[in-house]
């Protein structure tokens, strides 16, 4: 990646990390309802994959992929307003976390049954093929969600129709409390591509350059009409499933091992190697922190949604 690309990556990873910290703090103060699903440890995967998209490409991220949202243009304010269920939120207060869509930004979020979104994202890719738009669909699933039958059905369709579709399997080692070893006999998730006759690749999900490069290749492969790819990014969920979860089932040594590969720190090192100065990095860190603080403060000034919203748009109006 160029220095300019690395700066964009670092800025978005910082926003994602700061946003997580802000939501965790609010959760601890009981100022937020529902779950807080932090992506700490996963920033290089969500940011690096999303950065490989071109203008007009489509993204179906998961609930943890805040970094991907920021890359595709969601602002910290928009995110904070939805997470804090305020008036004017993109879901009108009907749904939380990353469960939103913004067609202008080509972002289509998820339902909690994450595997269910794979066939839907594949349908979006079908629409691109039918309309010859030239756009590619990037969709995400986790090591846990990848077990769901609908993922298989979606990949069957995407592969037989040779659709412009890329599935990122973010393997963060745990599905809630269940380790990969208890989920699958073959821990290499990208091997599943073999069954569909499509390319599959595993990359270090804490290495922004490896993630960006693999995804860029898969996207251009798809755009050229060669069909889908599975990219497995290996990462570690450094927090519980959500903040209520003490995640005492994760061995301490495992967390320490992954902590040494912290994707935000690794990206900072890459930037220093490209000639960025410590003070440049510090100012980027401060900038991200203050942007998130400002967004949360702004969201907190807004009232709750109008109660009448509860009764609107059950059917499209």
């Amino acid at each position: 990646m160029t220095k300019a690309e690395l700066i964009v990556a670092y800025e978005n990873m910082l926003l994602a990390r700061e946003f997580d910290h802000a939501m965790i703090n609010l959760y601890r103060q009981s100022k937020i309802v529902g779950g807080v699903y932090a992506q700490i440890g996963n920033e290089a995967s969500s940011v690096g994959t999303a950065m490989a998209l071109q203008e007009g490409d489509i993204i179906f991220p998961m609930h943890r992929d805040n970094g991907a949202h920021f890359v595709r243009g969601m602002t910290p304010r928009e995110m904070a307003i939805n997470f804090l269920f305020r008036r004017g939120s993109i879901t009108r207060g009907t749904d939380g976390t990353g469960h939103f869509a913004d067609p202008e930004k080509k972002i289509y979020g998820n339902v909690s049954h994450l595997g269910a979104m794979v066939p839907v994202a594949v349908g979006a890719a079908l629409a691109q093929k039918l309309s010859k738009s030239g756009f590619v669909v990037l969709n995400y699933i986790g090591d846990g969600g990848a077990s769901v039958g609908e993922v298989h059905e979606g990949l069957m369709m995407a592969s037989v129709q040779q659709l412009p579709f890329v599935l990122v399997i973010e393997n963060n080692q745990y599905a809630y409390s269940t380790p990969v070893a208890a989920q699958t006999h073959n821990p290499r998730f990208s091997d599943r591509a073999i069954g569909y006759g499509i390319p599959g690749v595993t990359v270090d999900g804490t290495d922004i350059e490896a993630v960006f490069s693999a995804t860029s290749q898969a996207i251009e492969f798809a755009r050229a009409g060669n069909g889908p790819t599975i990219i497995e990014t290996t990462t570690m969920r450094m927090r519980g499933h959500a903040e209520h979860d003490p995640f005492d089932y994760v061995p301490k040594e495992l967390l320490e091992e992954w902590d040494r590969k912290d994707p935000v720190l690794r990206t900072a090192t890459l930037l220093l190697n490209k000639g960025a100065s410590e003070s440049e990095l510090t100012s980027m860190q401060q900038q991200a922190k203050s942007e998130i603080e400002e967004a949360v403060a702004y969201a907190n000034t807004l009232p709750a949604p109008d109660a009448a919203e509860a009764f609107k748009n059950v059917f499209f109006q």
Binding site: A116, P119, V120, A125, A127, E153, M156, M157, F316
Partner: protein, 322 residues
């Protein structure tokens, strides 16, 4: 025109008129579908508009939902309505909640050949409409005549909400009537008085409509009663006004459907009628539906569980004698 030809005609008409309409399903292409509802459409419109899929009910309904987010109006076919269980999550979790959560239309139609009476056994005979009635955000349409099959299907395709379209497969080739050619729209949510009467309201939809009319005609012929038959046409949206106005006229109500009894759509109708028109009733509202069991395979057993001329007739007698 037969009921199934009317469906084919509606599909062809909408595909000619609107290039955003495409069909997706199993064996619907060159083969023309298990029941031949899409016969000739692949040859006419090509593989990009009549899309054959692997055996992936969730996959193909999901694909329809995804394509609908990008300006398409997909019509998905379940080979048998029974297989919609495999796509249940896509419909109730994704399709039904998208307008509410995202403010986006999901203009898909899922066509479901449903119903018993052909010795299809437990897995080719279901009437699963009420599962979807319970989920806010889905429309549920059940045509009972060839002309409604066409007019309601055209409306469903043009609707911006996800529509479950239940075609009773026993009607496919057993019903034949005049169907207007070209543009023909029957709005969703408007019931039809299939037979005007004054002594009793027989409220039904879909596969049991011909049975209701047959019983009503027999009672008229024998001079026993003048039965009004209300064809609901769609369960969501529901034409409550038409139901109540018939009930207020006749004061006696039999609700009939082929789906099994317990927590079937009849239960909702009885609740609505007693809530809104209790004072008009001269007898308790009665339900007649299939026995609460899987639909059995052997013809002699299947006949036992389904509503019949005899069982509907005795229910009517009972109400008239009350």
């Amino acid at each position: 025109m037969t009921y199934i030809d009317a469906i084919n005609d509606a599909l062809q008409y909408e595909m000619e008129r609107d290039s955003s309409v495409f069909l997706i399903g199993e064996d619907i292409g060159a083969f023309g579908g298990a029941f031949k509802a899409t016969k000739g459409l692949y040859q006419r419109f090509g593989k990009d508009r009549v899309i054959d899929t692997p055996i992936t009910e969730a996959g193909l309904v999901g694909a329809a939902i995804g394509a609908s987010l990008f300006g398409y109006r997909p019509v998905a076919e379940m080979q048998f309505s029974d297989f919609i269980t495999n796509a249940f999550n896509q419909l109730v979790t994704v399709a039904a909640t998208t307008a509410y959560r995202w403010g986006l239309p999901v203009p898909i139609v899922v066509r479901c050949p449903s119903g018993a009476g052909i010795s299809g056994g437990p897995f080719h005979s279901r009437n699963p409409e009420v599962w979807f009635v319970h989920q806010p955000g889905l429309k549920v349409v059940c045509p009972g005549t060839p002309e409604d099959a066409k007019g309601l299907l055209i409306s469903s395709i043009r609707d911006n909400s996800p529509v479950l379209f239940f075609e009773h497969k026993r009607l496919y080739r057993s019903l034949k009537s005049e169907v207007p050619s070209g543009e023909y729209v029957v709005p969703l949510g408007k019931a039809k008085t299939a037979r005007i009467g004054k002594d009793l309201s027989l409220i039904t939809y879909g596969g049991t409509l011909p049975l209701a009319v047959e019983v009503a005609e027999a009672f008229a012929k024998e001079g026993k009663a003048d039965i009004e038959v209300i064809d609901l046409r769609s369960l969501v949206p529901l034409d409550l006004e038409a139901i109540l106005s018939s009930v207020r006229k006749t004061s006696r109500v039999l609700v009939l459907h082929e789906d099994n009894l317990t927590a079937g759509f009849g239960a909702e109708l009885v609740a609505l009628i007693t809530e809104h028109a209790f004072e008009a009733l001269d007898a308790p509202v009665k339900r007649l539906a299939s026995f609460d069991s899987p639909v059995p395979f052997a013809p002699d057993l299947e006949r036992e569980v389904l509503p019949s001329v005899r069982s509907v007739g005795s229910a009517v007698e009972e109400l008239l004698d009350y």
